[in-house]
């Protein structure tokens, strides 16, 4: 039984999108992931962190938290912010929906997370923040 946990906090600077996905990739190395699995995890984490940075605080400053845990051969990441929250989670998860059409966002973030991870859960409350939890089993 292998167990591990980590937690990092960073500010809403777009450089931290790369920082967070690099940390996520390093964290899962213990599980001997394939190159494809690393790419999938990096992309999914990047989507969640980019969401938190762009939408979470509406372009303003704030703190984003990323927690990682490994339990046996499954890795879970939780990315959370204490920002504006998502009023309609179901709509936000629809492919091609974007809350910021003026910014050339593709609206593909949740679709990519759902495709590359085994499970994606979204908890959000308007005015309180958003937490995206996603897991993937690395066989």
């Amino acid at each position: 039984m292998y167990k591990n946990n980590m937690k990092i906090e960073f500010t809403t600077v777009s450089d931290n999108e790369r920082f967070a996905r690099t940390v996520a990739a390093a964290f899962v190395l213990e599980l001997d992931p394939t190159i494809d699995q690393i790419s999938e995890i990096k992309t999914a984490v990047s989507e969640a962190v980019t969401n938190a940075i762009i939408h979470g605080y509406d372009g303003g400053e704030g703190i984003v938290t990323m927690e990682g845990s490994i339990y046996d051969d499954t890795v879970e990441f939780a990315i959370s912010d204490s920002g504006v929250g998502i009023p309609d989670i179901r709509r936000a998860r629809e492919p091609l929906f974007t809350g910021k059409p003026e910014m050339e966002r593709s609206g593909m973030g949740f679709t990519i997370m759902e495709t590359f991870m085994d499970s994606v859960d979204v908890e959000s409350e308007v005015g309180k923040g958003t937490r995206i939890t996603m897991s993937k089993r690395l066989k």
């Binding site: 777009s14 450089d15 999108e17 790369r18 996905r21 494809d36 790419s39 999938e40 990096k42 992309t43 990047s46 989507e47 980019t50 940075i53 762009i54 910014m103 050339e104 966002r105 593709s106 609206g107 593909m108 973030g109 679709t111 990519i112 495709t115």
Partner: protein, 115 residues
């Protein structure tokens, strides 16, 4: 990112180095739009051969350049993408509006730029 102009095909070749994420997308957008206006090129060819990462921000920037090229009567080509990048492209459905090819030559042929 490196920008090259193929005058013969009125095509701006955009070589992506490293990671195309939210941060890099802003640079690509600004530089490509400026060079399209400056050079008179109407087509954009994205070379992903040296790209190591792309997320949905990359899709956003490609869709944005598609709109710009279309307004100029041009097309968008993507070539040299890794399997993961190809999967993201397929997921997004942009394969229906841009040409996805293995090489620039194939892309130019498929987009019929020399007709």
């Amino acid at each position: 990112m490196e920008l090259l102009l193929s005058g013969k095909y009125k095509t701006l070749i955009v070589k992506i180095y490293g990671e195309l994420d939210d941060r890099a997308a802003k640079d690509v957008k600004e530089n490509v739009d400026r060079e399209l206006a400056r050079t008179g090129a109407v087509n954009v060819a994205f070379d992903f051969g040296a790209a190591t990462f792309m997320d949905s921000s990359g899709i956003g920037v490609i869709i944005g350049r598609y709109k710009v090229a279309r307004a100029l009567g041009g097309k968008v080509i993507i070539y040299g993408a890794s399997d993961t990048v190809k999967r993201i492209i397929a997921m997004s459905g942009i394969g229906d509006i841009v040409v996805v090819a293995d090489s620039l030559e194939d892309g130019i042929k498929e987009a019929a730029l020399n007709v």
